[in-house]
Symmetry: C2
Subunit: 445 residues, 2 copies
């Protein structure tokens, strides 16, 4: 067997990385809880038919499917079946949102609506791996289901701001748009049936530029006069206020489009009262690839990092497909992995995120160890992290181990110390060494 | 589409269940950290060849394999391939231990040995689902790799005791045995090559009884005189001291067997000094199904619950297979899902495990809401969980929502309150209602 490896796009997390990740998760959780959101979890595995068709064609392709086992597998082989879906009935989660919609319908009698929940779990996408793009990554999702109120959007913008400033994310911008505006635009240019294609293409503006966007629109069958009409929208600029005025005119014939504007104005009005409007940017090229969004959508970017670090939006009616009609729903998601990369790159992890060992006992042999074990028990009872080296290895080796654990105190208990009843404690922060009774040391900590 | 469902053997966790689970995880983590263990994570997905052959034949069958996608899938179909392994290169984790061994080898230059780590993640087994047996379940593993010292076993027994008593698990027993003793037994009866079969069969004693164990041993090709010789061992009883004496005689011709006894005696001696020996029970029928154990093994059972709630043991040399020789390793695992079932059944969750909402604001309309949002910000800054109902629904509906969230205080801010500058606060614990300035309320909390 060759060198061990892990699947591409997946990662091991070493203790230091875990400490950084836990720091992010703890901030996120604290803010979610403060806002009255409750934690749930859904399985990593879902029935394939729960997930297929919810994310567009690309999503169906990039989903990790579980191979049928035993008899089911043999039957597919013997019957000469040839499609991937003939060999699979289960898939790994592609995001938290669709499984959450399934969860809400399945558990509707156990929960009170509006239901505010958060969820911090991994998802899997067989995307081409790259910087900030993994095949297994964590999403921290926070959603409200069972309410049409735009106050939910307002609260989620607050949450963006609270989390991102608690994490000291530098110069972030919450891009905001409304799928209704995009639909209105498609309507005005007479291409209602191509709305998904149009939004997906517009979404690429930053990546491929205006010319390629126009080419792609034409190649996707959007009429050339429609593409021409679309130009002022794609090139829209100015302040949020100016943009809204241009959009109002452009969309004057589209009821849906105007509704989209009205929703945005309501939210912006509230946000202004809380002095959070500087964090927002109306971006009409923002579309979000996923099929299920219906209203206001979000994406967060920050200085010096390519790609978004958060996403989200309103997805009314997603539960319809699972048999529960008329449910309003909106949520946002923090990309923990990308936020981690930002914090690491900009050295923004606080020093105490990685807490070291408090007390390390050098091991001089079995007799000393059996004297020390009960002392360790007392330390553990007081939640003081402490350990003894598992064997009486050379001092140098033991000290370098203590160092790697970031030990604050190194304690020596040899036969002299056992006789005298005093232990020898070295404070590794200031180098001071003292002889002290164990009970006094314990009280001092 | 019919009623939504999830794959058999998997579960959704509602907020109340999550609170219980988090309570368990927090206790476990606290104890692990106290002992100087550091957290890591490995991906849910591993390369199939990392996992196959490590868990015995049953393990290979019960592993969830990921279906190859796109061209790889088509090639297998076109080439008429017929084995499950022709259609898969990846699998879901079956336990934490084998991926951990892979992790250690792959990251050996980043870690200091002995490496003490813990890991709390789900694993997947396509086992027949049943009470306490799930297809996706969490393992809380704590291991030391890079040490042969039996002090590691001693520390792990301490950890068992600290966690299980912190969780108030009733009358638990830590069953202990040694694979070396089992190997010695196989050697004495002249069936060294059947050790795995023998241990797996002996492991079933509790389930199928002595007669069936003997039948199964014979059917697996163990000679009848060997089965006869084995009887005193399978039926071994008495105190730990008595058992050890019988074993010493039985194993007098087996060097490995005697080494196993010696190891047990060392550990028992230490444990006795810490007055923990009552929690231990030497059980020579304990074998543990997994292939990789080499030394002392553990399993924990508790009163009123069928099946084990924890497992573990020494597995020296597991990293050999990934290219790192001579590594001692030992670890234990807490079955969070079974522990949850025990705590639930016996009503052992502490009352404060499920913390409710602290402050709920009734929503009387948009004007009041925009007055309340900045107050909420102030509460959130002080980490006081608080929310406003997202719409001005009927009072009854809002109050029943507040109730479902376990709200401690319900706050009314109508136009009167806005004018007077006082808010109306009802303490839901004692029913007392008062008019109070918001700042005073904030300070009171």
């Amino acid at each position: 067997m060759g060198k061990p490896s892990i699947p591409k796009g997946t990662r091991d997390f070493l203790p230091k990385q875990m400490a950084g990740r836990n720091y992010i998760f703890n901030v996120v959780k604290r803010v979610f809880k403060n806002h009255g959101f409750l934690q749930i979890e859904t399985p990593a595995i879902e029935n394939l038919n729960t997930l297929t068709g919810k994310y567009g064609e690309e999503g169906d392709q990039l989903m990790f499917k579980i191979l049928n086992r035993g008899d089911k597998f043999k039957r597919a082989i013997n019957d000469g079946l040839q499609k991937e879906t003939d060999f699979s009935e289960l898939a790994l989660k592609y995001d938290q949102t669709v499984p959450f919609a399934r969860f809400v319908v399945q558990n509707q009698n156990e929960i009170t609506f509006p239901f505010k929940r958060y969820q911090i779990q991994p998802v899997w996408r067989a995307d081409r791996p790259g910087k900030g793009r993994y095949r297994e990554f964590y999403q921290c999702d926070v959603d409200v289901v069972g309410s049409d109120s735009l106050l939910c959007e307002v609260e989620l913008i607050q949450i963006y701001n609270e989390v991102l400033s608690a994490l000291s994310i530098p110069n972030y911008t919450i891009k905001i748009n409304n799928r209704k505006i995009l639909f209105g635009i498609a309507e005005v240019i007479g291409e209602e049936d191509k709305i998904i294609d149009i939004t997906i293409t517009i979404d690429k503006l930053d990546k491929i530029g205006l010319e390629k966007v126009n080419e792609e629109l034409l190649s996707k069958g959007v009429a050339s006069d429609a593409v021409a009409k679309l130009q002022p929208i794609i090139k829209l600029s100015g302040s949020t206020f100016e943009k809204i005025n241009i959009l109002k005119q452009f969309l004057s014939e589209s009821q849906t489009g105007l509704k989209g504007i009205e929703e945005l104005e309501f939210v912006l009005d509230f946000i202004k009262k809380m002095n959070l409007e500087k964090s927002l940017d109306l971006d009409v090229t923002l579309a979000r690839g996923l099929n299920y969004y219906t209203g206001i959508i979000f994406e967060v970017v920050c200085e010096g990092f390519k790609g978004s670090i958060c996403g989200g939006g309103r997805y009314d009616g997603l539960t319809d497909q699972f048999g529960l009609k008329g449910m309003g729903a909106v949520g946002i998601s923090f990309g923990a992995d990308r936020i981690y990369d930002v914090l690491l790159e900009k050295d923004l992890f606080p020093e105490d995120a990685m807490q070291g060992l408090q007390v390390f006992f050098v091991n001089f042999g079995q007799r000393e160890a059996s004297y020390i074990f009960p002392l360790l028990s007392k330390l553990h009872k007081k939640n003081i992290s402490s350990e003894i080296y598992p064997s009486s290895a050379k001092m140098k080796k033991q000290m370098s181990y203590a160092d790697s654990k970031g030990a604050r105190y190194v304690v020596l208990v040899g036969s002299n110390e056992i006789e005298s009843g005093l232990i020898s404690v070295k404070d590794m922060k200031n180098g001071i060494q003292e002889e002290i009774r164990f009970e006094d040391f314990l009280n001092k900590l």
